[in-house]
């Protein structure tokens, strides 16, 4: 990996690809690279769908190597949903393939000169960009099937569905999985709309003839990778819980503690929770001949995903994740797993973020467009988005837009982006992250490594309420760093509890690049990334008042515990004091 592929979509005779040396961005990967390019090259006040915005797609530092869990990919831009900087990341095969093809990143830039739609094909011989208007408004599954028939089955694809083409704020970018299905998505923040604004429908990658990326010190790398894998396998979460049930294993317990946002964040418990839990989902998948344990890309040893079949045993979608099952399930009062799986498929097919879409439908239900619990009505609303009807255009632009259009007060967004599946009144610490993350409400923003491993900002007394601000800060720093390595964030559970596993990760990075990576180095990287992102947002007009939850979280009591969000604004403003 030593070059960046820049595609100027505004070139005179149609999009023009240029390979440039990685230069000043050397040593950066994933989120660190996307955020560095966006903050340096994109004017913060630009229109997110205009020619000045850029879309950056960057594999992680270890992507394309034999390192386990290294296949996440980051997508960065100025977000049409939040108006701030965005990094949205995804699993799937393209990260490994793009890295093996030698690219640190693909940057889409400029403003198209016509309405033509393009496909980009990249292999060992170079880059070919072709106009193909027959792809217009194709959903992701049909699109990928067409690419397969054209380029064979050794490819992987990065694509947008109709939502991206219509430049909707909830539009995602799809990344194909090991089975060449468009099931993995950079969902958050409307990144698909930015790809749509560049008139690029699909990027097809083929790494045939390319080698696996070699580490500087193969022996040390192999040894560290082995320790890392052993650490993941021996931990109860990464070795047992996630493989057996996936992330949806959280449903029952969140519901039990009354922190499961139900009926558009009205209450913390859903009567139908056990019908849509990870335990029930895994049992259903196994019974129907699907898979309850499966990876989203080659090299994943945790395998938190799965394959969901319909009642007749036919493929319906990949295993919907916790956030998806919650967004379309409990948050909309829906307790039918098959219908939720169908909604997941439709989201993937039209290219929409499942969290934003579920939250939006719940707001629409509150507005009276459908009844809570009416799964068929929810499916119909997603079809409206796919069709691009007037109603669909509103819904496809997310919960905030829908709330405004229909006069709903209870709209669970921060910086315009819908909150994920944890109510910040019950779990207040996560509310600190929702409020202050430069990304808008995002559960993964403060997710990763324990501060007691990294000692970011010194020791914190976690048992004191005021520890929430410090912990949120430390987690956001650590997460930004992990996102920059391209490792799946789910490694965090093992790294959190097992310092040896964290050391193994540092050793992998060190052996691969022939450097000496320390915990402090990781911390500094995380801080640097966050600072770039915060500075961008500030220049884009964000103030401390944007680092707040909607005010109803402070006033509406949340059953069953009847709690409100109690972290003060003064404390929220301290999160980035380091």
């Amino acid at each position: 990996m030593d070059k960046i592929l820049r595609i100027d979509v505004g070139a005179e005779s149609g999009p023009k690809a240029t390979k440039v040396p990685v230069g000043e961005y050397a040593g950066l990967g994933g989120r660190a690279l996307t955020s560095a390019i966006i903050s340096k090259e994109v004017p913060p006040l630009c229109h997110p769908l205009g020619g000045e915005n850029k879309l950056v797609i960057a594999p992680g530092l270890l992507s394309g190597s034999a390192g386990s869990m290294s296949g996440r990919i980051s997508v960065g831009c100025k977000s049409p949903l939040t108006g701030g900087i965005k990094e949205s990341n995804s699993g799937g095969q393209p990260s490994q393939v793009l890295a093996r093809l030698g690219y640190n990143a693909i940057v889409l830039e400029g403003k198209p000169k016509s309405n033509d739609l393009y496909k980009v094909f990249i292999n060992k011989d170079g880059v070919k960009i072709t106009v193909d208007n027959s792809l217009k408004m194709l959903p992701n599954y049909d699109l990928v099937a067409k690419m397969k028939s054209e380029y064979g089955d050794k490819i992987s694809c990065i694509s947008i569905g109709p939502a991206g083409e219509m430049k909707m704020g909830a539009a995602s970018i799809a990344f194909t999985d090991m089975e060449l299905r468009p099931t993995r998505h950079a969902g958050r923040g409307g990144v698909g709309a930015v790809m749509g604004s560049k008139n690029i429908k699909v990027i097809v990658l083929d790494d045939t003839g390319m080698q696996i990326r070699a580490p500087k010190d193969p022996q040390k790398f192999q040894d560290a990778n082995k320790r890392f894998v052993n650490g993941l396998k021996s931990h109860p979460v990464t070795g047992q819980g996630l493989p057996a049930y996936g992330t949806n294993v959280l449903t029952n317990i969140l519901n039990e503690v009354g922190g499961y946002p139900t009926y558009n964040f009205k209450q913390g418990r859903f009567d139908g929770a056990s019908k849509i839990s990870g335990e029930t989902q895994a049992e259903t998948e196994t019974k129907r001949g699907g898979l309850a344990t499966h990876g989203c890309h080659r090299g994943c040893v945790i395998q938190c995903s799965g394959v969901y079949h319909d009642k007749d045993g036919h493929y319906l979608t990949k295993q919907p994740e916790y956030e998806t099952v919650w967004a379309h399930g409990g948050n909309c009062g829906i307790s039918d797993l098959d219908k939720i799986a169908m909604l997941d498929f439709l989201d993937d097919n039209y290219g929409i973020d499942t969290i934003e879409m579920g939250a939006t439908i719940a707001v629409a239900m509150e507005a009276g467009l459908a009844k809570f619990g009416d799964a068929d009505a929810a499916i119909q609303l997603v079809h409206e988005v796919g069709k691009g009807s007037h109603l669909g255009r509103i819904l496809g632009n997310g919960a905030a837009m829908t709330g405004r259009a229909f006069g709903v007060e209870r709209v669970p967004v921060v910086k315009g982006q819908a909150m994920p599946a944890y109510d910040p009144r019950a779990v207040q610490g996560i509310g600190v992250t929702y409020a202050t993350s430069p990304m808008g409400a995002d559960h993964t923003a403060g997710y990763a490594v324990a501060q007691n491993v990294l000692k970011v900002g010194g020791d914190v007394n976690a048992l004191k309420p005021e520890g929430q601000v410090e912990i949120s800060r430390n987690l956001q720093i650590a997460t930004a760093a992990i996102d920059s390595t391209g490792m799946c964030l789910f490694i965090a559970f093992a790294v959190l509890d097992q310092p040896d596993t964290f050391q193994a990760l540092l050793d992998m990075l060190s052996a691969f690049y022939g450097i000496s990576m320390t915990g402090d180095g990781v911390t500094d990287l995380g801080k640097k990334v966050l600072k770039m992102e915060r500075d961008f947002n500030k220049a884009a007009g964000f103030t401390p008042q944007h680092d707040r939850l909607p005010s109803y979280f402070k006033t509406e009591k949340f059953a069953p515990h009847n709690v409100t969000f109690g972290v003060t604004d003064e404390d929220l403003d301290k999160v980035f004091n380091w």
Binding site: P236, V237, G241, N252, E256, C304, Y422, A462, P465, H561
Partner: protein
């Protein structure tokens, strides 16, 4: 079969002997919650050990303990009372999973809902406790609980029986109602449940 727990003769006792692979079908009931008659007025630690017969290793595996909807940090300082609901889970993923772990590094994140005992101790008495068992604990602790017999609301049993497929019934080796075999047709006819609010269910693998 003999129940290991004394539920009295108040309710009908439905006893399943099923193929090994079918025991997991009953875990759906564990997620919703089953009741046990037991000694209450004891700490969560004592309850797990004495009433649920959980060994050291199992207790170590139980990383999240939710008593009456509130995460417990100190097992010795939280008390089981008549009518309590106790939910048990292995270690969960994600920041929120870590937040809900007992005594975990992120417990301050959910301080607004953490369990705090209001009294120092409670009098021991007979009572009924609702138990929910989730995820990786279902195949060990949950299975033992089902073997020993639990009380299940009649409505939950009715739904459970209605939802079973042909394959399930094929794998049932023996079904006894109050120690007498009951025909499939009679069991699936909700008439036998009419007027009952609870039944005692026990499940063993053939």
């Amino acid at each position: 079969m003999r129940l290991s727990r004394d539920h009295g003769a108040l309710y009908p006792h439905l006893a399943f002997t099923v193929d090994e692979t079918l025991v997991s079908c009953f875990y759906a009931l564990l997620q919703q919650g089953v009741m046990v008659r037991c000694r209450t007025g004891c700490s969560v630690a004592a309850f797990l050990k004495d009433e649920l017969k959980a060994g050291e290793e199992t207790i170590e595996k139980i990383q999240s303990i939710i008593l009456d909807g509130k995460p417990v940090d100190d097992l010795e300082a939280a008390w089981i009372k008549d009518g309590s609901t106790l939910a048990l889970s292995a270690a969960m993923p994600g920041l929120v999973g870590a937040t809900l772990r007992r005594g975990g590094a992120y417990s301050s994140f959910r301080s607004a809902i953490t369990y705090h005992e209001t009294k120092e101790a409670y009098e021991p008495e007979d009572g009924v406790v609702k138990i929910k068992i989730f995820n990786l604990l279902m195949s060990g602790l949950g299975r033992d609980l089902l073997k020993g017999g639990v009380m299940v609301p009649a409505g939950a049993i009715r739904n459970f029986l209605e939802e079973r497929s042909y394959d399930f019934w094929q794998g049932c080796r023996q079904i006894l109602l109050d120690s007498a075999p009951i025909a499939l047709g009679a069991l699936r006819d909700p008439a036998w449940l009419s007027g009952k609010d609870q039944i005692i269910l026990s499940v063993i693998a053939a």
